[in-house]
Symmetry: C2
Subunit: 331 residues, 2 copies
DNA sequence: AAATAAAATTTGATCGATCAAAAATTTTGG
DNA sequence: CCAAAATTTTTGATCGATCAAATTTTATTT
């Protein structure tokens, strides 16, 4: 292994000058820098990341939880998010360290380990809930963090207690509903999950608002189903027997696929349906869907952790919230 | 931050004794150990991972590439693999560091960086090809690695040049074909990609072998389509016009979904179709599929890198190959 | 050209742990 | 009970870099 000492010896300068060439080239005179650069390339030197971390007390690493694989249609959004985060982090000189956890307690243990061991400079939370214990723990431990998911309850971006970015689900279903109202007809139904899930209620709200604001038929039903193709198919099968609907806005692609299958079954393959998440399955079946743009979320979170141009993590990051407007993909 | 020195002072012993309590408790006398343990819990001490890495020259971290998000039906296998790897790695005291790359050259750069900076102890390659440049580079650099994917060309597990684990695609299609021969009829067609992709040819071989070995109809066709729902749908639409087939074994779920749609369209919703990868989309549509079990691949790769019970990476790991038999999921 | 200011470079200390060898203690055996 | 062996504990060096302060060199001013 080539060390900074080797380079210094070869270039006939001191360690620190080599260090300066790498970290603060402006401090070094041109001819000196050239000598050092020549030595660096001749020896193939690269700074040892571990030694640097020990000295600077910065790991340039952020931790991200990988959820237990759900097996369902969803989960893809998170995968795309992790991918985008990794790419964006790289351009800012950060690395992404994974940890897997199936439960909150398991995740809390991991958070402790990462913090105790000084392994990461910041943590990205996903899927935050009201009074999130992880957020609490991270605050206690004084570990910078940002969340993919709004702090339900206090959603005013101006008075956030920590940085967060979330998809504006209501905006997504609003756009979907407006599209169907214009393109299909006034009787646009909503197929959602049973009430009281925060994400679900948010998406329902968008439909309600668009129906009220536009030319929506007040009588258009709100149907409830667990998140699964078969369950949704059953629910919509029943619906299509009696009700005359022009289109269905769904809270997820799994629901949309079920609705689509029920429509085909009922001899109405042209019934307009819009899903949510824009998964490969919806794409494969040609179902329109609301695309979450997890890449924007990833970029937004890093901006918050670091400031838009910085290359180091703010401590603590400014507590602001950002809602990303999703995009309707029409098929 | 609590250091080993703080603990030593509080317990009234030396640094090294504290270190021994943590890393080699057998070397420490019982009463001493108790004192130290008490101090550790009182102060909430945890060893600094970065300092330890610098001294031991081991990072206990493995690097894994995250592919560019493909957007298609596939990709999920890799995500599940990364997840399983993270979980298994954790139980062996390893961390998983991600890097994103879109091209081979980009990946080679990342490999160099990770090796130069001493960031990882080993790298996991995915999607290996014949004469893989990454494998070559890693060998040159003396970085331990293992691959998800066989070294096409020399597939005899006994004479591998590096450790690898792969899914036995032929075994998967063999099982799928045998199942359809028994359950549907002798005319089992194969819907695959254009020839000369290694994975594709492997999967086709399984079908051929099972057809020859079982009661397969020699005349059953082998149809070719690019990997996409629409393309496959078109190909099978044509097929179903003339040919009478009892079932179709497909090289991917995307193809299977296309075939399924064509079958429904042709008024044969009961036509037996088997896909490959067992994606959420296939599950949602109730299409049988071959499940790759990426969890086993992850476990197998770590066993190879570390030995089945060890907690440190062998250098170099023994070059052996392992084919994991996939599992047919009947729906 | 000397005095002063500014810039460039070097030196010594440090980050927090483990390794290797030395010193202190306990155990064993005659 | 003492010497030798075995065990336990401590000390000093080190991993490879950066920080802070000291020193040297160059540039500016009078």
């Amino acid at each position: 292994m080539v060390t900074i000492e080797d380079v210094a010896r070869r270039a006939g300068v001191s360690r620190q000058t080599v260090s300066n060439v790498i970290n603060a080239p402006a401090k070094v005179r041109e001819p000196t820098r050239e000598k050092v650069d020549a030595a660096i390339t001749a020896l193939g030197y690269a700074p040892n990341a571990v030694a640097r971390r020990l000295r600077t007390q910065r790991t340039s690493t952020i931790g991200v939880r990988l959820d237990a694989y759900s097996g369902g249609v969803s989960g893809v959004v998170l995968d795309r998010f992790v991918h985008a985060l990794t790419e964006h982090a790289a351009t800012r000189g950060l690395r992404v360290l994974l940890y897997a956890a199936r439960t909150v307690d398991e995740e809390l243990r991991h958070i402790n380990e990462l913090a105790d061991g000084g392994e990461v400079d910041a943590i990205i939370l996903t899927g935050t809930s009201r009074d999130d214990r992880r957020a609490e723990r991270l605050r206690e431990r004084d570990m910078p963090f940002a969340a993919f998911g709004r702090p339900w309850g206090t959603e005013d971006p101006a008075e956030a207690s920590h940085p967060w970015v979330d998809i504006d689900g209501a905006a997504g279903t609003r756009a979907a509903t407006a599209y169907l109202l214009g393109d299909a007809g006034p009787r646009v139904a909503f197929l959602g999950w049973p009430p009281d899930s925060e994400t679900g209620d948010d998406r329902e709200r968008g439909w309600r608002e668009a129906m009220a604001a536009g030319s929506g038929d007040r009588a258009a039903p709100r149907i409830s189903s667990e998140d699964g193709v078969a369950q949704a198919q059953g629910a919509i099968r029943t619906l299509l027997k009696d009700d005359a609907v022009d289109g269905i806005v769904c809270a997820s692609d799994a629901l949309a696929i079920g609705a689509h299958l029920a429509a085909v079954e009922a001899g109405r393959p042209g019934l307009r349906i819009v899903g949510f998440d824009n998964t490969a399955a919806a794409e494969a079946l040609g179902i329109s869907s609301v695309e979450q743009l997890p890449e924007r979320v990833a970029a937004g979170l890093l901006d918050m952790l670091m400031g838009p141009e910085e290359r180091r993590i703010s401590h603590p990051p400014a507590p602001v919230g950002l809602l990303v407007e999703p995009q309707l993909i029409v098929r």
